[in-house]
Symmetry: C2
Subunit: 573 residues, 2 copies
């Protein structure tokens, strides 16, 4: 009972040994992360097409719930760029941006996503996330970064443009380019350049000025806040709203409200698939971050418990006016680097953001959306990494195809189609590769008991004996291939009296392959050719023995290939 509780509530583990040292470290980290999260939360709400306060709300209760249920010590949960983009794409299909229905749809999406994650966690299905290959994830993240950055250009220009694919976005920008507001563009460009400079050069500069590393780090992380403050003051002081500069405007000054997600069958039906997609992608991103951070401290995370933690966080977002959330890369690294020792740091961050929601929201009234767009652009361009194309090209063409297809389809047809096709393509490519396994015809290396490919090595062979080493598990995708291959090889050589399948690399024989082996056995039997197996692995042999195959086999099963050679090659003895 206690054990079950502790499994599902990691807080019971770390909470018991919580001390003053951990408290002060966690508090410092929480202050740093809070400062970073205020502009980020507003920006990612904007990216999702939601009112800015939704981003703040999504960073309060969800963080607390993750702190209770999550298994990572330093993961920081909240709205993140890719998930916000997916959110915008999903709810844009069911409601008009700016309407009440749009905000409700965001809650529904968070609710469905939370429920799905919880279910996966309880069923311990965390491994499903592995069906997303690294090339697909890398391609998807890169393409998403490009899409997100492009989607923010309209705010830099102060124009209107819609679309969920790159051609749509570029078309919209091009069509409305004439409406560009010069002042907005000026603010946006200055903010963008400033933020790039902060990211690249501020920390070394501060270090040269003699600041200790930790202080230099905090000042650097506060860069976006400086941009926010400076541009807000400029808009307010110079009365730039009169000149057409878009601002955040009135943000309600309150703690997160209690909200109910819409659960009509129509809405649930329309958002179910996107919710699953968001859950899986959010989970994969979050687990990668959490694993990386945990490994650095020789800790481990539990993927199934992570599902529960993220599920609880999303349910929290659904009932407090938020949007779908997950563990963010940048904020988690900051949290970890700033010294967070336990998830309590997250709870303090949540408290900090609650204070901000109540006390600081009037201050962002004059904050230009161009500044928020600049913070998003600078943040996501670090996600764009086209070098993955080069790396995979050098290593494996199939992986390259998976990356390239995922990038092109995500840019061209949108995030949902892109990632779904990426997964399908990588699975199909894998099946394709295993459908034509490497099969080596082997012979005896003279004076040894080793057998090697007859086309690569000088080996002894026997015209009456063909030994084929199959370098792949035998299963439905390649079962017929093997049938064809053996049929072909045996009809070629009229002197063949025995065929040995060397199974040292066969890790599985499924029912389809079993039936193929039976067919091969029958056909070879009809031709008067013996079929033998050698070096069959224990688990494979255990399974074969459950069928009639071994009894019906017209040849024998040899423990080692050398035994087979000695028994079947007339000249061997």
């Amino acid at each position: 009972m206690i054990k079950t509780l502790r499994r599902y509530l990691p807080i019971l583990d770390w909470g018991r040994s919580y001390d003053r040292g951990a408290l002060s470290n966690d508090l410092v980290a929480a202050v740093v992360v809070t400062i970073m999260l205020i502009p980020q939360s507003l920006a990612y709400a904007l990216l999702a097409g939601l009112p800015p306060e939704a981003g703040i709300y999504a960073s309060i209760l969800p963080i607390m719930l993750y702190a209770i249920f999550g298994s990572s010590r330093t993961l920081a949960v909240g709205p993140v760029a890719v998930v916000s983009l997916l959110t915008a794409s999903a709810i844009g299909q069911v409601a008009e941006q700016g309407t009440a229905g749009y905000a409700v749809a965001a809650l529904t999406l968070a609710f469905l996503s939370g429920a799905f994650l919880l279910l996966m966690g309880v069923l311990r299905l965390g491994f499903m996330a592995n069906f997303l290959s690294h090339p697909v994830i890398a391609g998807f993240i890169t393409a998403s970064g490009i899409l997100i950055a492009t989607s923010q250009v309209k705010h830099l220009l102060g124009i209107d443009a819609q679309g969920h694919t790159l051609p749509e976005m570029l078309g919209g920008l091009w069509a409305n380019l004439g409406d560009t507001n010069a002042i907005t563009l000026g603010i946006g460009l200055v903010a963008t350049v400033f933020l790039f400079w902060v990211r690249k050069h501020l920390k070394p500069a501060l270090r040269r000025l003699g600041l200790p590393p930790f202080a230099a780090d905090i000042v650097t992380k506060a860069g976006p806040v400086a941009a926010v403050v400076a541009t807000t003051l400029a808009v307010w002081g110079l009365g730039l709203t009169e000149r057409g500069v878009g601002i955040v405007g009135a943000v309600p000054q309150s703690l997160p409200p209690f909200t109910l997600p819409g659960l009509t069958p129509d809405l649930v039906g329309a958002l179910m698939v996107p919710a699953i997609l968001i859950s899986v992608i959010g989970f994969v991103e979050s687990v990668s971050v959490a694993q990386t951070l945990a490994a650095k401290k020789r800790q481990r995370i539990d993927p199934d418990q992570e599902l529960i933690g993220l599920g609880a966080a999303n349910l929290g977002a659904a009932f407090t006016g938020g949007l779908p959330v997950t563990g963010g890369f940048a904020r988690s690294v900051v949290n970890s680097d700033a010294g967070a020792e336990t998830p309590a740091a997250g709870i303090y961050t949540a408290i900090g953001l609650a204070v901000a929601a109540v006390a600081l929201t009037p201050l962002v009234y004059y904050l230009p959306t161009a500044t928020l767009a600049a913070t998003i652009i600078v943040a996501v361009l670090s996600l764009v990494d086209l070098s993955i194309l080069k790396k995979t090209w050098g290593y494996s063409r199939t992986d390259f195809i998976a990356v390239a297809a995922t990038i092109l389809l995500t840019l061209g047809l949108g995030v949902e189609v892109g990632v779904a096709s990426g997964v399908a393509i990588s699975v199909l490519l894998h099946l394709y590769k295993t459908s034509r396994p490497h099969v080596a015809e082997v012979g005896l290396v003279p004076e040894t008991q080793h057998f090697r490919n007859i086309h690569r090595h000088k080996v002894q062979t026997d015209p009456s004996l063909v030994t084929l080493r199959v370098d792949e598990s035998l299963y439905f995708v390649n079962a017929r291939f093997l049938e064809d291959l053996i049929q072909k090889r045996v009809t070629e050589g009229t002197t063949i009296r025995n065929v040995v399948l060397m199974c040292s690399a066969v890790n599985e024989v499924d029912f389809s392959a079993l039936e193929s082996l039976e067919a091969i056995n029958r056909r070879l039997g009809d031709m008067g050719v013996g079929l033998h197996l050698s070096e069959v692995k224990g688990p494979v042999m255990d399974r074969l023995k459950r069928s009639h195959f071994i009894d019906d086999l017209n040849g024998r099963v040899f423990l080692s290939q050398y035994d087979a050679w000695r028994a079947l090659s007339p000249g061997a003895a």
Copy 2:
């Protein structure tokens, strides 16, 4: 040039050596198959919801085209039960049965299916059919047999009932049971019992009466014709149409007409997916039959050329008032058993059916549909084989799940959903199995150079050295599993200084797995633990060398596990 022609036109091969002996054998086979095909063609057109002549037309030009392009010597092409069922299900969604649009949709389906098969053939994509596992095919065929038999019960009862799933069909039958026509039911039951008796007992009875085997065979195959003749005469002689017995009615007396499939974007869009499904299933059924028959005669078929042959046959059906066709099991076996030597037998069969279309169609006016339903029921019940459930249960639970799910989903949700889910489930189960590969920790068998599982054998181990043999290719689905596993093993044992991955069963390392290996290498390096590889296969090593992994590896690559042991175990030397 000639070689290419001969590759695409197998008729050039067998045609050159065609002689009198082959001619007379082929003629005999053609007569037997023609007699068998007349009732079958009518019946399968009925099953597809089409006028009876469509079945005859679909057996004329398509057979001829297959004879020219197909690679099997004895495959008999035409409408078959499962494909007709799929046809009914597909075109039932776009047009009302009995309308002109329905017949046009059948032509469109045949056209799209033919085009798709041709395309696959030219692109040499025949291997794609292997993605259908044997359990999925077996489950699908069995469920289809049950669905087809159930769909014909309404004709036996003389009532109306619609539906494409078992619950729908049973519901429809139950609702209209009160309308049962007793005479129709009588004819249907007599015909069914007679046909079952013919199938099971006539041949042995004839042999006991002294008939030679071949004659007994032909008489048995003509059983359905006898049922057709007897019941037709009964209906005509006793004036049973007045008593409400459903009959085939007027069938146009003509050669196949020239028809054009409808190619409006709407129709093509609606039928594209069903056409692909029908193509793949028809192809798989056809190739299985063709391979079985070819193997008996030590011949080979070329799956890619089969695609072209079947594609041409379906295009032929589309332009001559037919419906989708494929190679049928029963008729091909009859053709082969009756002595067909070359595809010319198919051409003679087509001529026979053309004669029938012109001369015999008036004779089937009074043929009761109940008799046709009986021939279908008797034919398809031989497809139903529930023993596959027991066989797979004994051999492998995952294969059992695939069969059971395919059967249940096909019966409950229809043929298209059933087979598509079957494929998806078998792929997911395969991925699931390989996502948690068997990993054995191995030690040295004393006095040898062999390494075996430490939990199964008495072996030497070394507390500073962990050797893991991974019995699976490393790819995206199990990449993270390996990371977790090694991380866990190393955090457990504080004395560990070296980890060796023994790769004798690793047939592939994809890019995702490469990145995981890099992550493992980095993390172990951070902990001061060496990562080594042993027994890496040639192709895998070639690929690894294209990346930085081998350079960055903090340990070494050993040719054999014994080398690794000697180098890393302090006590070994």
